[in-house]
Amino acid sequence: MTFSWAAIWQGLPYLFQGAALTIFISLTAMLLGVILGVLIALLSEVPSRGIRILIRAYVEIFRNTPLLIQIFIVYFGLPQLGLKLSPFFSGLSALTLYTAAYNVEIFRAGLEAVPKGQHEAARSTGLTPLQAAVFVIIPQALRVSFPALGNNLVSLLKNSSLVSTIGMVELMFVANDISFNNFRSFEIYGATAVLYVLLVLALTWTLSTIERRLLLKSGR
């Protein structure tokens, strides 16, 4: 069989539509995953031992199991317990929980990296613990966390392809659909891979722009 550019050309409109859905579910999971990660990371600082154990359990379980299994448990397993979610919401939940677990560790490391002297200086001028956290500590923690967080978000974009397995229509699903029909696997999956590269490049470009404009204003 020869290489068919026509197959790619014909498939592209559908692949683009799939890519749009990949972008949509990835961005949503990123946003929710960051918010959830920040909340749980802050929550892990409370004195309550019970809460800290629960958080540790959550982080360990979701970081030590394959994302695919998590997706399957949500989509195939939960209905047995009475909770039936659509492919989209199953995929979104699994992606969010997975990414937030990594974010918790990233943010905790970021918080720990802020020198103790910063807490002391902020509190010694009369700032409340909340004000010190919001204006002095968290901004610095975010700057430290940003590279690792960015990596995690790129992983999320690539991992979103796994939700194709439960029938959510996004880029990977569309690629499968086309190639199962025209058998042009190399062309279609090759083109799909190129699309993923472009999506990742767009994401990393966005992240470094954010880093440069918003975060690295320290005169250096």
Binding site: P115, Q118, S124, G126, L127, T128, F135, K217, G219
Partner: protein
């Protein structure tokens, strides 16, 4: 005789088995400049950090500006607004410029408007000698400049007491004087200052009283003249001979 603005009564603190503050009794009057010196590990930094409750004590009483630190009714956040602190490592906020470092607490705690806070901050920058650095970030300043910004940041809150924890110990020698000059002028204005330092020239110039600490205890105290000329205790003499040589 002015009222005591800071009082330590029978203060004891342990870090595990280490007895870092041993039956410390101290009384500081408003407007007094007190210098605390002593060898490493003598408890001098711990002592001043107890004043704004950055360190907790296990035994004894500390009263600051009429408020007992151990009293649950004492709002430590409000008290800290009245007690300024300057740290050995400056501890400026690296993600904010000089002006923002100074105005943050003014806006958030004293509830000043941005314009008023900036006006106060700029006046303080003139006072510490670096008005042109307002828009720069801490990383762009020398150590001496950073420490002067730190002093301005503490002064912005118009505290009743200023604590200095070895303010010049992390500075290159040529920058020490620019910081000490600011502290001297502050002392001459009548600010209550407690300074942990090895800079005995500063102590001689403006302090009302010097305290020598060793192993958690106040070993000797006195007016600078008497302290340097005629130290009474053997340990004081040994310490002074070591640090006054160069």
């Amino acid at each position: 005789m002015k009222q005591a603005i800071i009082q330590f009564r029978g203060v004891n603190k342990w870090f595990g088995p280490l007895h870092v503050l041993n039956d410390v009794d101290l009384s500081v009057r408003a407007g007094e400049v007190l210098v605390i010196c002593g060898p490493s590990g003598s408890g001098k930094s711990t002592l001043i950090r107890c004043i704004n409750k950055l360190e907790l004590i296990q035994k004894g009483e500390i009263v600051v500006d009429g408020m007992a630190l151990s009293d649950p009714a004492t709002d430590i956040t409000k008290l800290r607004a009245e007690v300024g602190m300057v740290f050995q490592q400056f501890n400026l906020y690296p993600h904010m410029n000089v002006l923002q470092n100074i105005t943050l607490a003014l806006v958030k705690v004293r509830k000043q408007s941005r314009e008023e806070a900036e006006r106060i901050a700029r006046d303080l920058l003139v006072k510490v000698g670096i008005p042109e650095k307002a828009a720069q970030y801490p990383a762009q300043l020398s150590g001496g400049q950073q420490q002067r910004v730190a002093i301005a940041r503490a002064l912005a809150m118009q505290p009743k007491i200023m604590l200095f924890d070895e303010p010049t110990s992390a500075l290159d020698p040529e920058m020490i004087n620019e910081v000490l000059d600011v502290m001297v002028s502050l002392a001459k204005e009548g600010m209550t200052m407690i300074v942990v330092t090895h800079e005995m020239g500063f102590a001689r110039k403006v302090s009302h009283r010097i305290i020598f600490m060793d192993e958690g205890r106040i070993v000797e105290e006195g007016e600078p003249q008497a302290f340097f000329a005629n130290p009474k205790e053997e340990r004081t003499r040994t310490f002074l001979s070591k640090i006054l040589v160069h």
